[in-house]
Every structure is written in C-alpha cells, then in structure tokens.
C-alpha cells in the first residue's frame, strides 16, 4: 500500500543541543510549517548538507557530489527521496532513480540513510518527502525544542 507522502524542505542544519555531541540536526518542514522533522546526522553528512544549502561548490567533488556526477553521467535521474520509516530512533530513507529510457513503472529504489538521501536530493534538486506514518510517530517533546530554535536568532548560523 502506498502511504501518504508529505513534501518537506530543509530549513537548516544546527548543532545538537547536547553539549559536546558529535551530531548535528537537520531540520525539515512542510510548506505550511505544521510538520517539523528533526533528523540527527553525523558531522560529515551535516557538512555535506550545509554546503549544498549554501550552494558552495568545492574545488574537488566531495562524496555526495561524486554520487551526483556518477548518476548524471550514467543518465540516471533521482526523481525523489523519501524518509520512509523510523525504528528504534533510526530513520530510514529511499532514493528513487529513473534511467533515461525507462518509464515511471521501472523506477529503481535504493535504501539509504536520510542524511545521504538529503545531501543527494539537495545536489540534484530532487524533492524530499516523508511518509505520514513517520510524522505520526514524532513525539512533540522531540520537536518542540527545535521549533523554538527555528524562531531564534541562533538559527541559520554556521556551526
């Protein structure tokens, strides 16, 4: 059964609220800003996402730039990425790929961490979705602190 998908955009990447944490938090929101999805990512992936948000083009292709270049050269188009599931605090995502000749019926799906999926989506201007189920499982206590930070001046700064 196809689940309902909600389109999200990346609002920013910020340091984790826990001091000395190695993690960063990617904040995604839907268009109406009624749903907010925080996703914890590693430093490398956080950096990869931030560079794409800031449209920084590094002198040499970084890992996610390479994935984009690989898929582009092979004529594979990333049609969307979807945050599909959350289990034991781990988020799961799928990347949907389409070859030039193929129709929508023969889309390829690849399992990925949301951090990689988002870093890739931003580099290929592909839409990012989350399933309604994932949003339904979000605990408000996990989201509210980030909503507060979204409104604060601290947000948007580089780490």
């Amino acid at each position: 059964m196809e689940s309902t998908l909600v389109k999200l955009t990346v609002q920013g990447v910020m340091p984790d609220a826990i001091p000395n944490s190695e993690s960063q938090v990617v904040i995604l929101q839907d268009e109406s800003k009624t749903n907010t999805l925080p996703i914890w990512v590693g430093v490398a992936e956080g950096t990869a996402i931030r560079l794409a948000l800031e449209s920084v083009v590094p002198p040499r292709p970084l890992s996610h730039d390479l994935i984009r270049n690989l898929t582009e050269q092979l004529g594979l188009k990333i049609s969307k990425v979807v945050v599909t599931d959350v289990k034991n605090n781990t988020y799961y995502a799928s990347i949907y790929l389409r070859s030039k000749e193929s129709d929508t019926q023969s889309e390829l799906t690849v399992d990925a961490r949301p951090s990689d999926a988002i870093a890739l989506a931003l580099r290929t201007s592909s839409p990012i979705y989350v399933t309604q189920e994932v949003l339904d499982h979000l605990a408000p206590e996990n989201v509210d602190p980030w909503l507060k930070m979204l409104g604060s001046k601290e947000f948007g700064g580089t780490v």
């Binding site: 590693g42 430093v43 490398a44 992936e45 002198p59 040499r60 292709p61 970084l62 890992s63 996610h64 390479l66 994935i67 270049n69 690989l70 898929t71 050269q73 092979l74 594979l76 781990t90 799961y92 990347i95 790929l97 070859s99 390829l108 799906t109 690849v110 399992d111 990925a112 961490r113 990689d116």
Partner: protein, 151 residues
C-alpha cells in the same frame, strides 16, 4: 603507464591532522601515500577491516546505487598530482558503454574496495610524488604503525 597498487595501510599524520592511505605495488618497490579526510579514512578502514555497519554509509550507498543500476566499476586510476592535490578517475561499464568519472582518490579507493575493483596509479604520479614529503613522514613511522592495518 599504470601500476596496479594495493591498499596497505592507513595511518594518522599528526603534522597535517589528516589520515594517510598507503598504496604499494605488488613487489613493494613503489609506494604512494595519499592524504585523506577523516570520513573518507573511516570509509576506507571499514572496507579494509571488513566491517559492515547496520546502515549503509555514504560509499556503501554509492556502490548500491551502481549495483542497482547494474553499472560495474572496472577500475580506479590515480591519474595526476597537481599542487599537492591528487586526482583520480573511476572507470565504469554500464549498458554496453564505458564511462570515466573524475573523483578524489579517497572516494575512488573507498568505492574500489567495496566493488573489488583494482586500483592503478599513473607512473607520472609516482615519480612526481615528492621525496621530501615521503622522507618527512617515513622518519616518523614506527614499525608497529606500519603493520597495523596490513592487509
């Protein structure tokens, strides 16, 4: 001319705060150190030690995308050294065509190890590889560093 090389070690360089991947040819006569960043070093060390993570890391994803599309990594080649930057190419076959894609050696090596593809180095690069650089870090190597990750 290309020389096939194997990944023989990974170590931390305290001078540059970076990691060094050590490539050697079959006969151990040629050696090439390549400086890489921390995430790429861990991607390479996972492959060296055969560690699989519960979730696919970035280079695992790279491999899975290629596998899913039925594209095959034929080889990777460290092609050039300019202003202390190494350049590499990933050679792929896909739907009866061959492709070569520009990459950093760290990404290319991390992918080659996961795809069981051979790694080659252009002889120009081996020659250009500055002997002063080599001496500097070789002096600081302890024998135990060297064998540590020997494959």
């Amino acid at each position: 001319m290309l020389t096939q090389m194997h990944i023989r070690g990974l170590m931390f360089d305290p001078y540059t705060n970076a990691y060094i991947v050590i490539l050697r040819d079959e006969s151990n006569t040629e050696m090439l150190p390549i400086w890489v960043g921390k995430p790429e070093a861990s991607a390479i060390s996972f492959a060296m030690e055969g560690i699989t993570t519960p979730r696919p890391m970035t280079h695992d994803l790279m491999k899975v995308i290629l596998d899913t599309a039925e594209a095959k990594v034929i080889s990777v080649v460290v092609t050039d050294l300019k202003d202390n930057t190494y350049y590499a190419k990933i050679h792929l076959s896909y739907e009866d065509s061959e492709y070569s894609i520009d990459a950093r050696p760290s990404d290319a090596i991390a992918l080659a190890m996961r795809s069981k593809a051979p790694v080659f180095v252009n002889d120009n690069v081996i020659r250009k590889n500055n002997s002063e650089d080599m001496d500097r870090w070789l002096e600081n190597l302890k024998p135990e560093d060297f064998g540590k990750y020997d494959a």
